[in-house]
């Protein structure tokens, strides 16, 4: 019988609500604050493995792949793993990474709610029938609506109305039938385990009302039971930004976090941008929430917290309440813009303004800086090609490599600053000069 590895934490340093630690999970060891990149294609995974090998990237602790992308991104790699004549695994970058990195397979079931992603599960193999059926019926309904020329994306009519009803019905069935629910949880946790995830994420819904919040708590509790036969299981919550205005729900969330013992708790706030001018109440409540997480990690040192799809909070909240933070290569922006509307030239992450710049703006900054790239990350300082001479593919590889090595550099600096007791001052200084000034309220 197998015994899943459990997560333990060695706290290293603390400064205010910021902390750095060494997190152990079986043979794996991660330094926090840890950055986890979201990967959605095989090319990005290859690039990640290449960069990890080239620059070591101690604070880039792993990657997260959405379940709908996982077969495409990881499936082939896993089946390509070779054994030698003695039956030992042949060491390759992927195998080494799969035994040392924090790999998360995110069910991302909030996508069942959003019209742009609800069809994602239709073409994915080895998923519970409930998910593929949901996606297929959505695609069918969408084509029916299209034929009727009735696609009006308002809450009252069209596909949105159909999706709201379908979403409610889907989760209601799981709420009422414990056997269907347990099978659904088991199948998704086993799938994550098969894909090599050392920490499993419960298949929770996007919380749009109190009922789904209760269901999320139930699924978290049941997942932790089911995971006894699979591996270490996290608690997970996926919210919309409006939850930060709902003080009673936040209070209940605090109570739940206090009562539970999950060693890692994941939060996802969909499409959150706390830098917007009018998000004053949300910022205040988020700051209080960070303090709750800090208090919890002080009382129980083996508790860790992770923010998925952190977006522009990836710098301000590193080590502050959250031990691990994750964004995609483009700061989670691709979710907001349809693929067709995107420029083929990837955006460059400006470390000083903390925002992404399109290629033209980057070229301006580059020329104004005396034809030097205005960044001191290893990828930028060792780049031998002039940015203007890079073709689309090379450019896109360059901006991704820069993003990862930049995050590693920032997180390494934050960890050192926590050690020397200057993290808060350092982060305040950096944010003050950036385009994310409003996030200062979270830090000060």
């Amino acid at each position: 019988m197998s015994e899943p590895a459990h997560l333990t934490v060695d706290p290293l340093y603390r400064e205010g609500i910021a902390r750095s630690c060494k997190v152990h999970l079986g043979y794996r060891e991660f330094l926090t604050p840890g950055f986890v990149i979201r990967i959605d294609s095989r090319e990005k995974l290859s690039l990640y493995l290449k960069l990890k090998k080239k620059y070591k990237l101690e604070h880039v602790t792993g990657y997260v792949v959405r379940l709908a992308d996982a077969q495409r991104v990881l499936g082939q790699r896993i089946s390509d793993t070779q054994v030698d004549l003695q039956g030992r695994f042949v060491e390759g970058d992927f195998l080494k990474s799969s035994l040392s990195d924090l790999i998360l397979i995110d069910p991302a079931l909030e996508n069942l709610y959003y019209a742009t992603h609800a069809g994602d599960f239709a073409s994915t193999r080895n998923l519970p029938h409930a998910l593929t059926d949901y996606s297929l019926s959505y695609l069918k309904q969408k084509s029916v609506q299209k034929n009727k020329e009735e696609i009006v994306e308002t809450p009252e009519t069209g596909i949105r109305k159909w999706l709201d009803a379908k979403h409610g019905h889907f989760w209601q069935e799981l709420e009422l039938d414990e056997r269907i629910r347990t099978r659904f949880i088991r199948d998704l946790l086993v799938r994550q385990h098969e894909l090599g995830a050392p920490i499993l994420i419960p298949p929770v819904p996007l919380i749009t009302n109190d009922r789904l919040f209760e269901l999320t708590k139930t699924i978290n509790r049941k997942s932790s039971e089911v995971s006894r036969v699979v591996g270490e299981c996290a608690d997970a919550f996926t919210f919309r930004l409006d939850v930060l205005r709902n003080s009673s729900l936040l209070e209940e969330l605090r109570d739940y976090i206090d009562a539970q013992n999950a060693r890692i708790t994941l939060f996802k706030f969909k499409y959150m941008n706390l830098n917007e001018e009018d998000r004053v109440i949300e910022r205040k409540n988020f700051r209080d929430f960070l303090q709750t997480l800090d208090l919890k990690s002080r009382l129980d040192r083996n508790r860790t917290f992770m923010l998925l799809e952190a977006g522009n909070l990836a710098y301000a909240c590193a080590g502050r309440g959250f031990d691990f933070l994750s964004t995609s290569f483009s700061l989670d922006r691709e979710d907001r813009v349809r693929k067709q509307q995107r420029s083929p030239w990837g955006k460059w992450f400006d470390p000083y303004y903390q925002v992404t710049l399109d290629r033209d703006s980057f070229m301006d900054a580059y020329r104004n800086n005396g034809s030097h790239i205005p960044c001191d990350c290893p990828e930028c300082t060792t780049s031998t090609s002039k940015p203007e001479s890079l073709g689309i593919d090379e450019w896109n590889q360059f901006v991704k490599g820069h993003y990862l090595s930049r995050r590693n550099k920032d997180y390494t600096e934050i960890a050192k600053a926590i050690e020397s007791g200057t993290a808060t001052a350092g982060i305040v200084d950096r944010l003050r000069d950036s385009a994310l000034k409003n996030l200062l309220e979270l830090v000060r």
Binding site: M1, S2, A5
Partner: protein, 167 residues
């Protein structure tokens, strides 16, 4: 003797829910739950008590408890006609534990304490390349006897070496 909070008991999967597991997963789940309960019952527990809290069949509980005793994860004391099961000691200190890897085997050494005294507990595990570990068996040696045990072991090793030169 046995104190289990209601909330803990309520999160245990019902019989109906466990039915979705494969037979192997079911065995593993039941073992894990029982081990968890044992570790919480400092003064020991009985088959009937575990069965009551978990709603698992008494025969299933008894089989798992005996299996845990056989690999030294638990030990049992006969009190009249009732067998009371205890989790096999608690780690004296986080540092009182280390593991060595020999080829595909993992040997874990623990210094444990229970009401019978202090023990050295050696577990044999297999290290699975897919990052899970399987316990194959274990031996408990009273700390007071450990020196004698080592002497016996090395004497046995020398005899083996003399016989075939393999050790």
């Amino acid at each position: 003797m046995f104190n289990m909070s209601l909330s803990r008991a309520s999160s245990i999967l019902s019989f109906n829910e466990i039915k979705v597991f494969s037979p192997e997963e079911r065995e593993q789940y039941v073992k894990s739950v029982i081990l968890d309960l044992l570790s919480k019952a400092e003064r020991g527990t009985t088959i009937a008590q575990v069965s009551k809290v978990t709603n698992f069949n008494r025969i299933t509980v008894a089989r798992h408890l005996e299996s845990l005793v056989s690999i030294r994860e638990a030990y049992k004391k006969q009190r009249g006609s009732v067998a009371v099961y205890f989790k096999n000691g608690r780690l004296l200190h986080e540092a009182d534990k280390f593991e060595i890897r020999v080829r595909d085997k993992l040997y874990a050494y623990y210094k444990l304490s229970n009401e019978e005294g202090d023990f050295i507990y050696i577990q044999e595990k297999t290290a699975n390349p897919t990052r899970t570990v399987q316990t194959l068996g274990g031996i408990m040696i009273d700390v007071r006897d450990f020196h004698e045990f080592l002497k016996g072991l090395s004497r046995f090793g020398i005899t083996m070496k003399a016989e075939d030169g393999k050790v």
